[in-house]
Subunit: 335 residues, 2 copies
């Protein structure tokens, strides 16, 4: 029996989540029972997809129920276990609750395999976002040498890796990010050829004409909305568009509208495809191993934004939609 | 030297083309010169894509210039030729002008190879629309046995063939068409499992739920707009969407807007791809041969709407956007 603080879904948010969305409770955990492990969280991941789970309607993840704990990827230490494949003291990654302590079915957990890198990377460049970038680039975007590739949310956990992987394939890579500070990181640390600060740009199409005069052969979309509209008008013949996220739209209550762009696909025979990293689960281990090697070799740079304390997890989550993070946003739990 | 009536682009239309768009001139043709053939037209094709060519802006076909002749696919008899591979009296198909007579570079022409079928089929089920259906189905839509496939403009020259090809693959096929008369043809002659008369339907989504309760695995889109919006909401995981036309939007002057649907692609990992039949030119002969065999064997049915007289070609063209044709719309030239 252990006592933990834990966040529950207080009510479904309308528009941007706020303090009424999150309910911090002190709860007692029963167990761990047979086949279970008691975990002490060290890092919790907050991700844009979680906004979809707060909604009752369909999203690409099952909805959370009101009153139930919020969930997320996390890195934790095994405190106690009964008949799992793990030992006390092991560092594991898996799907947990927004809490100090969590009891998990051992079959949901994996050992953290980050090598010399910080354990938090198991949630970022070596975790779900890194793997999303890996498979999204390899299987959907498919950049070719000489292509011009555009990445939205280029300073983010997924976009930053996509751009670097496309560069490794020989593409010219242009990012969209929301501040000069982010654009500096995108260009200087992540090595993009150019970055458009969308917060400071009136006409995204004109901006693209300047930095991508040969048009767009590949677009990796994390945001949707007007940036995506502008990129679509610049697509070249045979362009590949990977739809990974639509963060600009996640807090809309009404169905957002925009210009109809399907005609552009006839002209270009472009291919637009959505992606979910879960489809590639059988190949995750290879992705993690490749990414770890590339990071160790200095071929892939990464950034993390660390928020301290479980009590600040809601702010860290809301900050995702306000563009506050650079790279992977994690919450450090405990001291 | 021969005198012909010929339509020229009088001015670029705003919205629906009308009498101010078309200029019927009597012109004298010089030639045929070396390597050229004088052709007497028998059937002229009018097609939705021509609306795009009347526009100054980019489309998937180069714009026509004001004052220049309108062009289109046509079947014609060779009246005179100098050093081409054709003989006088040969029946040929190719890109010609909207005219009684046309002089063509022989390299642009092909012999009509319709077998026992009417020569007009070289413009329809055995021509560009049939080939568009053939490659669009085979290379982009890729229907699988057990799939539910939806086809917009199902009574049209392309859609009618797409639906029948999908049926041959074992799919359940649902069409959208604009009248009860068309829906009867779509179900009874083209063998679709169901047809939704969109002119008589308030909620396309509800209508789809009734006839496609298992959702939509494939969508072949000829129209765009609200029908397409409704189908997107019903897409299943791994759905394939082929964008062939957006006829509902071709006469819009302002950029049309609609609900943003890219998020649905994440949820379903659906693939959306545009197509142009010209990309498959090296394989056209095989497509025509296959289609001819299937029509001869009764596996593919087709319809044609024949308008009499060159002077009625503009009306036949405008009629495409008013849903007046069933199957391929052609114009019979001469008596």
């Amino acid at each position: 029996m252990v006592t933990t603080n834990r966040y529950h879904l207080a009510e479904r948010p309308e528009g941007m989540p706020d303090e009424d969305t999150f309910d911090l409770r002190e709860v007692e955990l029963d167990g761990p029972g047979p086949g279970e492990a008691l975990l002490e969280l060290r890092y919790l991941s907050v991700d844009p997809y979680m906004r979809g789970r707060m909604r009752a309607g369909e999203s690409y993840a099952d909805p959370w129920e009101v009153g139930q704990p919020l969930r997320g990827g996390a890195v934790a230490t095994v405190v106690e276990e009964h008949g799992t494949e793990f030992d006390e003291g092991d560092l594991v990654v898996g799907n947990m609750t927004w809490a100090d302590y969590h009891i998990a079915d051992g079959s949901d957990l994996q050992r953290v395999t980050v090598g010399e890198l910080p354990e938090s990377t198991a949630l970022g460049v070596l975790g779900m976002p890194g793997r999303t970038a890996y498979f999204g680039t390899r299987e959907v975007l498919e950049p070719r040498a000489g292509d011009t590739v555009v990445v939205s949310a280029a300073a983010g956990a997924v976009g930053s890796v996509v751009g670097q992987l496309a560069k490794l394939q020989g593409a010219t890579v242009v990012g969209f990010a929301g501040s000069d500070e982010k654009c500096a990181v995108v260009e200087d640390e992540f090595g993009f050829d150019a970055c458009i600060n969308y917060a400071d740009t009136e006409d995204y199409g004109d901006a693209l004409d300047e930095v991508a005069p040969a048009g767009v052969d590949g677009y990796f979309d994390n945001v949707g909305g007007p940036i995506t509209d502008a990129v679509f008008t610049k697509l070249n013949v045979d362009a590949h568009v990977a739809i990974c996220g639509q963060i600009a739209l996640y807090n809309e209550e009404e169905t957002p509208t925009g210009p109809r762009k399907l005609g552009k696909l006839i002209q270009t025979r472009a291919r637009v495809q959505g992606l979910l990293v879960g489809d590639y689960a059988p190949r995750w281990a290879q992705a993690t191993a490749d990414l770890r090697e590339w990071v160790a070799d200095g071929e892939i740079a990464y950034r993390e934004t660390v928020t301290e304390g479980l009590e600040n997890a809601p702010d860290a989550f809301v900050g995702l939609f306000e563009g506050e993070n650079i790279g992977k946003q994690v919450v450090k739990i405990g001291e």
